[in-house]
Symmetry: C2
DNA sequence: ATTAATAGTTCAATAGTTGAACTAAATGGA
DNA sequence: TCCATTTAGTTCAACTATTGAACTATTAAT
């Protein structure tokens, strides 16, 4: 791999990723209820997928400080979307899971967001979507490996 | 395109994009000086690329409120990285551009960030990188079109 | 000349973040 | 067993980023 190519890719990637992050957030925001933020939606989706999880897990998975997770989950608990349950085997651990209202909000938000994202996805041929998502998923794994190695 | 496929892609994309955004930010953060935040780095990169630009342009390109841009540029001006110059033809307009110190900080940050990103990019075959970035750039364009249409 | 629109700022409120200091509980030698 | 260490999570102060409404200043339109 030539250094010039690599630098060019990095430049293109950095330039475009910020655009996609901001514009993607702006698009998704349209589908979010006034009450729900972008980060709250993704966090609830993650917890729903896992069924139950801990602050520490969220902190390492998303690469943020544990106190940031506490702050976020506080807001979600206050809204009645998330519950905290102390683990009886290890009483230091707190299990986070969605309340029925939380499930309901995420499901409803999913319907709105999916409708918006469909519009975007329809502009790409199937093979391109499939290949792109596969690389994106691989990127998520590599990022985790690189951070764990360090 | 089958509905089941589309929903599956959307689910995979939403799930993975939040991970990549957070982990990518955590990786880049290592290369940032204590003084510089993630968003400030990208904003300075964008302005450098454009040479000069306005608040309104930043606001529409990144899909955020104009007052958010004012707040960000205030912090950058305070740090001496960005300058504001009133346009003499249309005195409502303010032209934003990097100061020499701003250029210096971005260039230095680039060197640190590129070193980190190289490590990640080296794990992918060239064709995969090229295809991925091309689709990503197309995604940025489509997102802008969709938002303009609405 | 008055009204509209445009560019940008200010302000209050809120979400998200860090890092240090802290509590409580579990673990691991000596 | 006891004390030190580790682990899980919270609290707090300080900061960045964001929105939306109200505002100033300037230009454009009729």
């Amino acid at each position: 791999m030539k250094k010039r190519n690599v630098d060019d890719w990095i430049d293109r990637y950095l330039s475009v990723s910020f655009l996609v992050i901001k514009r993607g957030a702006a698009l998704v925001k349209v589908g979010l209820d006034e009450e729900m933020t972008h980060d709250q939606y993704y966090l609830l989706r993650y917890i729903r997928r896992r069924g139950t999880c801990t602050s520490t897990e969220l902190s390492t998975v998303f690469g943020v400080n544990k106190s940031a997770v506490t702050a976020m989950t506080n807001r979600l608990v206050d809204k009645g979307w998330l519950r905290r349950d102390r683990d009886q085997n290890d009483r230091r651990v707190v299990a986070l899971s969605l309340t029925p209202q939380g499930e309901e909000w995420v499901a409803e938000t999913d319907r709105n967001v999916y409708r918006l994202v469909e519009e975007v996805i329809a502009r790409f041929p199937e093979e391109e979507i499939e290949a792109f998502i596969r690389t994106y998923e691989k990127l998520a794994r590599v990022l985790q490996e690189v951070e764990e190695a360090k």
